[in-house]
Symmetry: C2
Subunit: 141 residues, 2 copies
DNA sequence: TAGACTAATGCAATAAAGTCGCAAATAACA
DNA sequence: TGTTATTTGCGACTTTATTGCATTAGTCTA
């Protein structure tokens, strides 16, 4: 799903396409990295769109509610977001440099079936995050 | 590893066994659920141990640094902790009632080997959390 | 294009989670 | 029991996030 399609589908639901909304959706449609509210604020100012913190938080909540964004918890006290339209993936978080890489193969679905069978818990989604040392940092030690 | 063993190993490293420390370690050694700082505070007061918020945060950091506790991120803006000594497991978080159950079988290790081979990223740990509807809540709908 | 309607925004106050410096208290050990 | 260094409480402060309200500005229609 591309940028314009996302925006017009929001518009179809009666929501307005404002400067901030347009730019935030654009930022996430182009980012391969999860972004926090602060990072979004910085990226907005880089394209000369100033928005109040409250507006940014509200916009992120809005896009989350409308299922365009997904929450990611990688670090304490910092919620990040990424486009729900990204191919299902997991993160490789480097403890040393903080870099974030993605893994797209996922063996979890089989586990999910087992859980439903054994526990009766119906899984809607999962988060799988990896922490360790990226190849670049491994070389430097 | 039991309660007394944990405490005496901390003591061996030159740390003191205070009322708060003893009680916090005890709480985690008996809990199958991850606990936030606030929850720890409540559980402390239930056994008539009052401790300042700052003290609790410091104690949690201390136990984290000393690898007795592990961080868990299940919800935005709330870090929880659990004993590192629990058998490796993942969480089933119910979106409706908030209950937390554990799964102990883990298919992730194979994936980890693949990642190291393909990406050169050395995984030290991972977090896998599931969100959905628990069996009890499923029945009530 | 002007005007009406309502979503979205900015601002300011507030809440909640967490941190830090410093003086006082207390565990550990001789 | 006294000494010493760790731990604690207190209070101030920081960061992240939320909310009410008045204003602004998209969107739709005439």
């Amino acid at each position: 799903m591309n940028l314009d399609l996302t925006l017009s589908s929001l518009q179809d639901k009666g929501h307005r396409i404002t400067k901030v909304r347009k730019e935030v959706v654009k930022i996430f449609s182009q980012s391969s990295q999860p972004l926090s509210a602060n990072q979004v604020e910085k990226m907005l100012s880089q394209v000369n769109v100033t928005a109040n913190k409250a507006t940014i938080y509200r916009e992120l909540q809005f896009l989350l509610t409308n299922r365009y964004l997904t929450e990611v918890y990688l670090h304490p006290n910092e919620v990040s977001y990424e486009s729900s339209e990204l191919k299902h993936h997991h993160h490789l978080v480097c403890d040393i440099c903080g870099s974030i890489d993605n893994v797209t193969n996922c063996l979890v679905s089989k586990l999910e079936e087992d859980v439903l069978k054994k526990k009766g818990f119906q899984i809607e989604r999962h988060m799988l995050e990896f922490y360790g040392t990226c190849s670049r940092c491994l070389k430097q030690t």
